[in-house]
Symmetry: C2
Subunit: 102 residues, 2 copies
DNA sequence: CCGGATCCTAGATGATACTG
DNA sequence: CAGTATCATCTAGGATCCGG
C-alpha cells in the first residue's frame, strides 16, 4: 500500500481498548496513576500500565515521577498528545450525530 | 463511564487492522470484493470478509449483489460512512505532521 | 468470483498476589 | 502509591479447504 499507511499509523496509536479513554482523561489535565485506574472503570492494572508505556513511547504522554513518600507519578499530554484533541472532538461529534454509542 | 463511552463507540468502528484501509479505499468509489482483496496487500480473505460484514452491520457500507455470472458484489459507503471522510483526513494530516508512519 | 466453515496462533485483556 | 509478576482467558487475525 501507499496512501493507506498514513492512516494505519495514526490509528494504531489510539487503537487499544482504553487508549482513547486515557487520552480523553488527560485532555482535561494531569492525572496520577491511581486516578486513571479509578476513573477508567474495569481496566486491569496491567493493561493500564502497558498502555501508558506505549503512549509514552509514541510520544503522546509524559511521565513525571516525584521522589516523595508516598510515591507519586503524574501523567500529562505532550504537545503531540494535545493535538489529538481535534481528532477526539471530531469522533465524539460523529458519534453523537450517528448515535453509535447506545 | 459516561463521557468516554462516546469515544469508544466511534473508535471501535474504525478499529481493526484493516478497517481504516477499507474505508479509505471506498472513499474514492465503489469497489468489488476482489478489488479490495487485491488492493489491500496481505489481508486474509476471511478477515476482509468479516470486516466487511462488521462495517455493514455498523451501517458504514452497503453491499450490493448483482445476479450475474460470474457473480459480482460491490461495496459502497453509506452516508454515515462518507461522513468519516473528515475523520480520516484529520488522521492523515495528524500523521503527516508528526511523522507517525515511517 | 464471492465468500462461508474450520482450525490454529499470537497478542491483547483480565484477575490476583506480591514488591519498592 | 505505583506498579511488576504470574496465570487464565478471550479475540483478532491468518491459512486452507469447500460450496453457491
Amino acid at each position: 500500500m501507499d496512501c493507506d499507511c498514513s492512516i494505519i499509523g495514526s490509528i494504531n496509536i489510539i487503537s487499544g481498548k482504553w487508549k482513547p479513554v486515557i487520552i480523553w482523561m488527560l485532555l482535561s489535565g494531569p492525572r496520577r496513576f491511581g486516578e486513571l485506574h479509578k476513573g477508567i472503570q474495569g481496566i486491569a492494572l496491567k493493561v493500564l500500565s502497558r498502555h501508558l508505556k506505549e503512549l509514552e513511547a509514541d510520544g503522546i504522554i509524559n511521565r513525571k515521577v516525584y521522589a516523595e513518600v508516598p510515591p507519586r507519578v503524574e501523567y500529562t499530554l505532550t504537545e503531540k498528545g494535545m493535538s489529538l484533541n481535534d481528532v477526539m472532538q471530531l469522533l465524539v461529534e460523529w458519534d453523537k450525530k450517528y448515535k453509535v454509542t447506545k
